[in-house]
């Protein structure tokens, strides 16, 4: 089904991705991630001693601060903070450094659609840059569903507003580049197909949602590849950072 998108992409095409790490010198880890015009900067400080009052001291805790580009911090920012915090808590190994807090600060540089997935990707890259122990990485993608049932990936802000509904999906990053034959399946599906986080907006039919899930999984393989390549390109000898 041919779909006309404003920037001429086809429905399964992502915008150009760019990721750079270690851009902030004082932060223990930092990364900037951009998908097309949406750009997010993430900084990681930690682990620092002590946890906040309501947190479990037997585990490491993660604190997220979300700074919008303009305006005051309100409910949407608090919601993004909670979603990001719970997503990152599920991928970090929390038992390694108990009673510590790792702070992740997200600064929105420009918002042109798919902001939350961009922030999650930036936060993962920043955590790797800081050396926080993790089980696996997470890749996030935004899928939109339109009235006629077709599904497009990585929308711009205008496309997000026009569409019937969209979903932000986060999948685990695959550890292997090519899954071998007969690789371990959980409930009949490889581990990479499990959803870590899903946030939807706008009403869509249940079948549309499953359609989005399939497209999202296929795209997450491409994103995992990109993430792996950009993190591997850091030279192992270049570890001199101001502490």
């Amino acid at each position: 089904m041919e779909v006309d998108r404003a920037d001429g992409r086809n429905p399964n095409q992502l915008r150009p991705l760019a990721c750079s790490c270690s851009i902030l010198h004082r932060a223990h880890g930092s990364a900037s991630w951009s998908q097309g015009d949406t750009k997010v900067l993430a900084a990681v400080y930690g682990p620092k001693a002590g946890t906040k009052k309501n947190e479990n001291p037997e585990k490491a805790s993660i604190e997220v601060i979300w700074k919008p580009r303009t305006g005051q911090i309100g409910k949407p920012e608090k919601e993004y903070e909670i979603i990001l915090k719970r997503t990152l808590q599920s991928i970090c190994i929390l038992t390694i450094n108990p009673n510590t807090t790792t702070s992740v600060i997200i600064q929105v540089v420009h918002d042109d659609g798919a902001l939350l997935p961009c922030a999650i990707n930036a936060a993962c890259a920043a955590l790797v840059d800081a050396g926080i122990p993790m089980k696996h990485l997470a890749v996030a993608i935004c899928c939109c569903s339109a009235e006629s049932g077709y599904c497009i990936l990585d929308p711009t802000k205008l496309e997000e507003q026009k569409m019937k509904g969209f979903a932000y999906l986060v999948f685990p990053n695959s550890i292997l580049s090519v899954l071998p034959e007969g690789s371990s399946l959980v409930q009949g599906e490889p581990m990479e197909h499990g959803i870590i986080t899903s946030v939807t907006h706008g009403a869509m039919s249940v079948d549309d949602y499953f359609h989005c899930l399939e497209r999202g999984r296929a795209a997450s393989a491409k994103l995992s590849d990109f993430l792996r390549r950009s993190l591997q390109s850091k030279l192992p000898g270049d570890l001199s950072k101001a502490e």
Binding site: N54, G74, K75, P76, K78, E79, I82, I83, K85, R86, T87, L88, Q89, S90, G165, A167, V170, P172, V186, Q187, G188, E189, M191, H193, G194, I195, I196, T197, S198, V199, T200, H201, G202, A203, M204, S205, V206, D208, Y209, F210, L213
Partner: protein, 302 residues
């Protein structure tokens, strides 16, 4: 289960309450292995739900919803305002969710609960995504006057599944809403109190016929917990604090998926788990729809 564990030795000598506090996960898993939960519910059953309408007499619409012990009080006040320039024939709905210290020992005054802004944003997203309220219906005089609807939801008892109860109370309050009569008085809109309707015949109400909102697809939700291979519907706060992976599915009466909200969590949701949650929610939507219909017809009889 074959690992020698210190708790195995203690558990045979310990009282049930102490075991529940010291080893909460093992306590729950022992129950889940028998497909039952500590409060004797099967895994897929939600708690008893009641709705009572018109709980706040001074509000234009109100409802009290209880799911098990979780209690939410929703109240709607309407005010006339000038609509914005971008949408001159639409009104506005503003939703606020409060968790006062009465609801839970974890909430203290001066330190707002972490969950409150998240539930508030989820509620306003869900209500606008589902298309339940048609904003054009809230317009009085195109371009000059429209209704501003303030919906306030107070959590009186937080015992798990806060979003479900809050959404239910919001939907019930909107079903109970009586739009106040207004009339045009020298070009200004004036609210008419109920009693004066017969006496002042020159102040004709502008909206005498349209006193109730027509509600589009009404959304209903169910929160489930994913733990290993189990799916528990409608968790209590104890279950939520131990097994942290929550999935909230919101469906409307035509089975459209309004929202599938899974904010992280250690357990990954595979397609089969997602399909099971959606199936459980479909059942729950039917139950809640019936409960809401009974509550509405109960009000109309009075």
């Amino acid at each position: 289960m074959g690992l020698p564990n210190a708790s195995e030795d203690l558990s045979s000598e310990m009282e049930v309450d102490a075991f529940r506090r010291l080893f909460p996960l093992r306590y729950f898993e022992r129950h889940l292995a028998e497909s039952i939960r500590p409060d004797a519910r099967p895994l897929s059953r939600a708690r008893d739900t009641t709705i009572s309408m018109g709980a706040v007499a001074s509000a234009d619409g109100s409802a009290l919803a209880k799911i098990g012990s979780t209690t939410m009080l929703a109240a709607i006040k309407m005010e006339v305002m000038t609509p914005s320039l971008e949408s001159p024939d639409e009104g506005c709905v503003s939703i606020d969710f409060h968790m006062p210290p009465i609801c839970s020992p974890l909430v203290r005054p001066g330190r707002p609960a972490e969950a409150a802004p998240v539930v508030a944003k989820q509620l306003s997203d869900t209500i606008s995504s589902s298309g339940m309220i048609n904003l054009k219906e809230l317009s009085l005089v195109g371009g000059k006057a429209a209704w501003m609807v303030y919906l306030d939801i107070y959590c009186l008892d937080a015992d798990g599944a806060l979003f479900d109860a809050a959404l239910l109370s919001a939907v019930a309050a909107f079903s109970n809403l009586q739009i106040p009569t207004v009339s045009l008085d020298d070009g200004k809109i004036v609210m008419l109190p109920e009693e004066q309707k017969e006496e002042n015949s020159e102040k004709e109400p502008v909206n005498k016929e349209k006193r109730k909102l027509t509600l589009g697809g009404i959304p209903f939700s169910l929160t489930c917990i994913l733990h290993k291979n189990y799916i528990l519907a409608d968790p209590t706060s104890e279950e939520e604090s131990i097994m942290e992976t929550l999935v909230t599915v919101v469906l409307d009466s035509s089975n459209q998926l309004v929202s599938l909200y899974k904010p992280g969590g250690a357990v990954l949701a595979y397609t089969s788990a997602v399909q099971d949650c959606i199936a459980l929610t479909r059942q729950r939507v039917k139950e809640l729809h019936q409960i809401l219909e009974e509550a509405i017809s109960g009000m109309e009889i009075d």
